[in-house]
């Protein structure tokens, strides 16, 4: 299955957080209503607004771990952000 850029960004962010906090990263991501996660296959489908889903995902980690987790998410998503025009990028990742 090929994922769109936003879904790939979500995968990168969760994987980046998982390297630091372990399975809690996936548990937190599963609390974002618009993300349908198949983590064993590293596949994600975004059902609603893609930008808000990414923002909400990053906010979940920020609530628990603070601003430093936002920086980790930014770093994880950096390589894919170039593929999005500036007005389509989630503000929190800019």
């Amino acid at each position: 299955m090929s994922m769109d850029v936003y879904a790939q960004i979500a995968v990168k962010i969760i994987a980046g957080q998982e390297a630091i906090i372990g399975p809690v990263a996936v548990e937190q991501a599963e609390r974002v209503p618009d993300l349908k996660i198949d983590w064993p296959n590293h596949e994600i489908t975004i059902t609603g607004d893609k930008v808000s889903a990414i923002q909400e995902l990053i906010e979940k980690y920020k609530e628990l771990f603070g601003q430093i987790s936002v920086e980790v998410s930014k770093q994880a998503a950096a390589s894919l952000m170039e593929q999005l025009p500036e007005n389509a990028q989630p503000a929190i990742l800019r």
């Binding site: 390297a19 630091i20 906090i21 771990f65 603070g66 980790v72 950096a78 390589s79």
Partner: protein, 238 residues
Amino acid sequence: MEKTEPQDTAPKKRTRLPFQKRKQLEQDIEHITAEMYKRNQELADTNKTLLLLRTIDALVLESHASVKMVCEHISQAITQATDYPLVGLFTRTPHDQDQMRLYGFSGKELLGGSSSPLSRPLHLKISDEWLASANTSRILSLDGMTPREMAENLDISATEIGRLLRLMPLKSLYEVKLVVRRRVVGVLIIGFHGDANNISQSDKTLIDRLTARSRPLMRQRTTSLAWPATSFVRRSQA
């Protein structure tokens, strides 16, 4: 006579104290959690670096393949373990004293692709002043550079550079010299999609460590070919 507590202040104190304690506790937990997250992040970075260094060690020390093959394997290992869009490893050629040849080349966008994006091997001219300088590394911002300027030291046409940049829209490069016994025997180049200012200290540390670990390969296989760094100075002055 019975002692009486002042009745107006005591209840206020009793309600304020638990509230203050709770707030303090929340702040402490927040601080501890952020601190633990930071430490875990450092550990994750260290683990990633160690894993990559072990891979490079194995490639350098256990392989009997040619320099070209080992360089290719090293650049592929770095690309796969990191998010760097481009990894290139230039080393000396036995035939030409004036340039280094790109032996290892790997790009994130090119992984799994069957053909090289280059029509012929890239060569780095050693007349580049940086190679003669004392700085072991440098950051190049590609934003303000024209393909013609980029092509200047690479012995390649500006058209081909333009084609490469369309394939990999890089904005900056981090370059580190591989120095063996005070001689420059190679250059590791990492490309970034982001601006030069956004290259993090952790990336620089990782790349510096990777370069240090690739040195034994150069020492083993290129020592007899290496040239004195001073020769760069003479060339660039001339």
